[in-house]
Subunit: 454 residues, 2 copies
């Protein structure tokens, strides 16, 4: 039996730090406060920390959810001063200095760290979320995986060429890193992994559209890298449409710049909105719902409340808002954790946060990625290898690193994807409905009767 | 790009073999007919073949669903004469010789192989299925995993000792191999994996009851092995109750021999019932719903219809029904596939099936398993190693074998379990409800207020 340390920690009850959210920012903050004598409580609505940058690989059947998720308790278990609570925060009582959970219980705090991230923004069309899921949660990814794979299954048994073509069309809305990664991964899934597995359809004929309203994809990257990414996507057969707005999304069809495109799979990656933490606090937010924070990440006007990551609007050295990247949240969390410790233990003043750019990256597919370090740019095979090394390194837990590395190596050698599951708890009741064939209104799916003998 | 073979196979359309179910039996039958010139269609309601013997490891967070599931298309893709259809069979038209699917489509057959398996039998109490899931599907396993892990999370934040004790009680109904495996795996999860991760509860105090109505557990194994298994379970802290009937199951409580036991997790492994294939065909079945088959596995009175595996009642050399084991289904499938090929290609008569016992096994936990070869018996460490080797060997696909082996090795060294996820699509709406504290009717959960400073 492994050694078990259940000795109560010598925790100072004078100051209680509550951290909401165990994403990159919240976890880094908790770790920086770990094994001190400050009482810390981490609250998250999931029991795991999710490595969101690899979620697109779950959605495209390359990895299992557990490969990129680690229990929060496990990550923090070696710090006896940290409590982990599985719960959904619904509000903050500023006067009483307490957080309210969905089950009605309250958690008082002395310092509050808000690291609640962001979700997809459907620009006033929340009904699109059901039809065109984003990619922020395991449930999103499982659902997209089931939908993608089901479309091929349905196309295989359809007798109607228009319906087959619609089912074998995927539209990715938004040309940021997530959109680029999804479009590339779907192309590789269809062209390589599934190519030999069907008898009546040719998955290599899958049509993949990447639609971006702005003038080019990867808008936050230098022109040179964005151009490379576009060419790499087009080599994979992805149709990149820039300067085209998505006007309407319904089950089975997307209206792009006035044209209705029937599509079995629709994926949303077009914009994010901050968590509702600004409303909980009743403080000023920017247009994306982010809480404006001071240079030390404190929320102006509130005593002992801090915000970081995607839900905070902090300014960089250039006066521009810092981007919504994992590395920003992580650095902010580390900074704030250390600053809180110094402040609580020694009464030190809270220093200002300064972001150091570790490089911005996006992957298109096999041997194709881009890296922007500001002063230096990388693209192609070397960027791809670097991308893989960095992402494996950033995964929490040796076992996950080993499992993901091996699966990537296996996939590299065989083009195989190990997690091609359509599971009923996702698919049931949310089965991809039959796309409407708007461009061929007469063509309706005919009752299937398979070609057989007899 | 990997080579893609899309050349139409030289398939003889004169005879169409339809196989319903891609479990051990159906898949073995399809593989035996693979790469012949006989047209074969395999129909399954899932897109994957599930290695059910390891499902308990998914339910107890040791493996991911994808580790034990392989796409049926992938397994059969090298056989150009085999079509795979994702669909739910709802009936068989004996006169028209056609299978009807849930979406209304029909698949005509010349030979029909029914390999549709079994599900759990709640002995007339189907309402128990919701509260006490069995372990036959990935959805079952995910749901059990979410429920088990959620109980610990809820116990951690409860202030009520009676409620904590109830949440930290798991009742496994049925002392067959599945029940023994689940009880042992839950004990190891609680005592080793979770031991260090909580602050207010001690997961090692988890109470696990294995309830068997018969006089002993592992009723189909020799006395010696069953006795060993019982002692091994008790060493892990499992309370083994034999000769005790479960009289009632409701949310949060099980009535065992007149006594109400509050329990956060209830697992059903007490009995199986065959698939409804007997009803589809309108033929005679035994008490467990199995179709009685002739020695050549044909269904008497029907032309060209065969049944095998858990949904068939075939007799062994001793005149007793063959047990519902994976190895029986697999051997029957191989036999039938070869016999059908010889019959269709050369008009050979259908030979009788003879079962060869490869050994019956059950695992209790680390270093503890039993093997019954009939003439020879094994138990303890060596049986455990053999169990692991056999199960890894039987997994389909090199990648799965490697991944499972590595995860087992990792778990052996660290006691860690990599798949401790509570995912919302399972937990939502099916959250473990609060167990009723029947033995302490006055004690109700009090509104939680965590111990903090202030």
């Amino acid at each position: 039996m492994p050694p078990v340390n259940r000795t109560p920690a010598p925790v100072d009850d004078a100051t209680h730090v509550v951290i909401i959210g165990a994403g990159f920012g919240g976890l880094a903050c908790a770790a920086a406060l770990g094994s001190t004598n400050i009482r810390v409580t981490v609250i998250d609505r999931n029991n795991y920390h999710l490595f969101v940058p690899l979620l697109y690989q779950v959605a495209t059947a390359a990895l299992s959810p557990a490969d990129i998720a680690q229990p929060i308790r496990r990550i923090l278990s070696r710090h006896p001063n940290i409590n982990v609570v599985l719960g959904e925060v619904v509000g903050v009582d500023r006067a009483a200095k307490a957080v309210t959970l969905a089950d009605g219980s309250v958690v008082p705090y002395d310092r509050l760290v808000i690291a609640t991230g962001s979700s997809y923004n459907y620009f006033g069309h929340d009904e699109w979320a059901e039809v065109a899921p984003g990619l922020k949660t395991i449930e999103n990814a499982r659902r997209l995986r089931a939908r993608l794979l089901s479309c091929f299954e349905q196309a295989e048994i359809s007798e109607d060429p228009a319906r087959q073509a619609a089912l074998m069309t995927a539209v990715v809305v938004g040309g940021g890193p997530t959109g680029v990664e999804m479009a590339g991964a779907i192309a590789e899934l269809a062209r390589y992994t599934l190519a030999r597995d069907f008898r009546r359809i040719d998955p290599r004929a899958t049509r993949i559209l990447l639609v971006e309203a702005g003038p080019r994809i990867l808008g936050t990257f230098p022109d040179e890298l964005a151009g490379y990414a576009r060419r790499a996507l087009e080599r994979l057969g992805v149709e990149v449409m820039t300067g085209k707005a998505v006007e309407r999304i319904e089950e089975g069809a997307v209206t792009i710049a006035g044209r209705i495109v029937p599509a079995g799979t629709i994926i949303w990656g077009a914009g994010v909105t901050a968590s509702p933490a600004g409303r909980w606090l009743g403080v000023e937010t920017d247009r994306a719902g982010r809480i404006r924070v001071a240079p030390d990440l404190s929320v102006p006007g509130l005593d002992g409340v801090y915000a970081l990551g995607d839900t905070a609007m902090a300014e960089g050295d250039d006066g521009k808002p810092l981007p919504g990247l994992a590395q920003v949240a992580k650095q902010q969390g580390e900074h704030l954790g250390r600053a809180l410790e110094a402040g609580i233990a020694r009464g030190a003043a809270m220093p200002a946060f300064r972001f150091r750019n570790r490089g911005n990256t996006a992957i298109i597919g096999r041997s194709a990625a881009v890296f922007d370090f500001g002063h230096r740019r990388l693209k192609g095979w070397f960027a791809w290898i670097l991308w893989a090394i960095v992402h494996v390194y950033l995964l929490v837990g040796f076992e996950k690193r080993l499992l993901v590395s091996l699966q990537w190596l296996w996939r590299y050698m065989t083009y195989e994807r190990g997690a091609r599951l359509i599971t009923a708890d996702v698919a049931q009741g949310r089965t991809p409905e039959r796309p409407e064939e708007r461009e061929t209104p007469g063509a309706r799916p005919v009752p299937m009767r398979r070609r057989t003998s007899g």
